[in-house]
Symmetry: C2
Amino acid sequence: MTKCFITGVAGFIGSNLAEKLLEGGYAVVGWDNFTTGQVRFLEKVRQNPNFQLVEGDNLDLPALTKAMAGCEMTFHLAANADVRFGLNHPEKDLHQNTIATFNVLEAMRANGVKKLAFSSTGSVYGEAEVIPTPEDAPFPVQTSLYGASKLACEGLIQAYCEGYGFEGYIFRFVSILGERYTHGHVFDFYKQLLEHPDHLRVLGDGTARKSYLYAGDCLDAIWHVMHKETAKTAKHNVEVYNLGTPEYCQVKDSIGWICQHLNLSPRLDFTGGSRGWVGDNPFIFLETKKVQATGWKPKLTIQQGIIRTVQWLQENQWVYDSRH
Amino acid sequence: MTKCFITGVAGFIGSNLAEKLLEGGYAVVGWDNFTTGQVRFLEKVRQNPNFQLVEGDNLDLPALTKAMAGCEMTFHLAANADVRFGLNHPEKDLHQNTIATFNVLEAMRANGVKKLAFSSTGSVYGEAEVIPTPEDAPFPVQTSLYGASKLACEGLIQAYCEGYGFEGYIFRFVSILGERYTHGHVFDFYKQLLEHPDHLRVLGDGTARKSYLYAGDCLDAIWHVMHKETAKTAKHNVEVYNLGTPEYCQVKDSIGWICQHLNLSPRLDFTGGSRGWVGDNPFIFLETKKVQATGWKPKLTIQQGIIRTVQWLQENQWVYDSRH
């Protein structure tokens, strides 16, 4: 039975991926430091005898190396995913993303694990000149510490693929939504509307255009690509795929769908400006022809993904209590 | 008197830059940990009352922050520049390039220093698809830990320019040659020919095409750009310039020029293959129209730069004694 290692297993994507891999007949070693991961997200997988949970931090290389023993591939999802507040603590992206990824690669090398999937981000394109933005867009300029750190991770992975014969799959995500979603604009909007259903404070002017992907579709894409494609036959031992839907929406569209679903008509207080915060990108839309050419396509539209997310938040309001 | 901070001041480029800045009327605080820097390269500048030397390591952030006090701009040149042996000690590029650059940026932020020049590398293009390679070439795949670490540094600098209002100048160098050159193929070839003038061992098959720039021309370019251009008016507060000559040569051309200059006819023992080592790039040639459009152009050809380098090595054979 092939054993997989998942970093960030108690997170939004990690916990869903663990379920999918176990259902697909894999054994899973799940690794998390529980700074943002939720024990409750693992309730189901912990009942599976093929799941093993190890609590630990990516900055502890000896423990990470030990935990990974016997695994054949690694899904490296653990990260500081907080784009917005990066400037408040610049060392966080360096430690939790760049150095953490270096440690994951070193733990793999020590254990002879050579196959890796990595959750990167469309933020590495900065404010892209070409939209929809393809994987081989013009060399970007970084506009956030988060994007810069994920780019650093991508570079490390690519160099390990070239230098040590690793096989790497780098997925550049748009924002992911769905069950167990615990940060982002839908999370924030629903929280506000729980507290004060009559008004909603919106960063920026509501015209920002963003793209979203439903978590189930995201996992299907990763699963599909890693079973069907072989980066080893490619020029570089590593392949990069954008993951997203072939559409985008405006923040105000999203607000409309959320409010309609909740049957609310709040007053909207826009903070103004095209950017919600320093480094916010007013237009994110990734070209996804490359991944679609492998035979995968998303099942849910952005609107459906947003509604599904609100439904899950309605049924799981505990996520607001356990955080910050 | 404007005070400049130079990291890696005892290195090849750093020591030459210190002389140039002092001659230009600046005060200079030079910083080096002397792991590869040479005290002898500082003999001239240490006689200048406007030069202050501080010994320290970029990984020691408190000392770095203290040393930078009172400076108005930083030239960050200190790096692990050893591309070839990166795979033997992967943590070296992470620490000495990525984390070191983060510390330089943090020391700048603590001191209110906002203007930065950074020595990056054409290695960030990996094996470029477009040659000559422009600054906005298609998003590259990294093929060396060195390139990956310099890309990580670039991303950090760009994010600091966007997030904290820094003004950044990133220079992507081809291989630099000239006085005080202490590593690279001319250094290795001349060393071999000193030891055994009758034969020369050459990594690869001699057909690799590379571009070189004379150090004096490199410093002129940095000086010229930073006085003439203002990244602050640009879209991103940061500008990226390729630095090189508008030509390339083959390794065997270089061997021919060196041997002709030394009046030697060694037997050539090629190790074979198009790459000298894993991650070696068989064709490096950067498009330099962007920097030439500012009014700078190199004075020496590659051939002249190589001869100048051999002449300096002939006059300074001590550099072979003091290393390794």
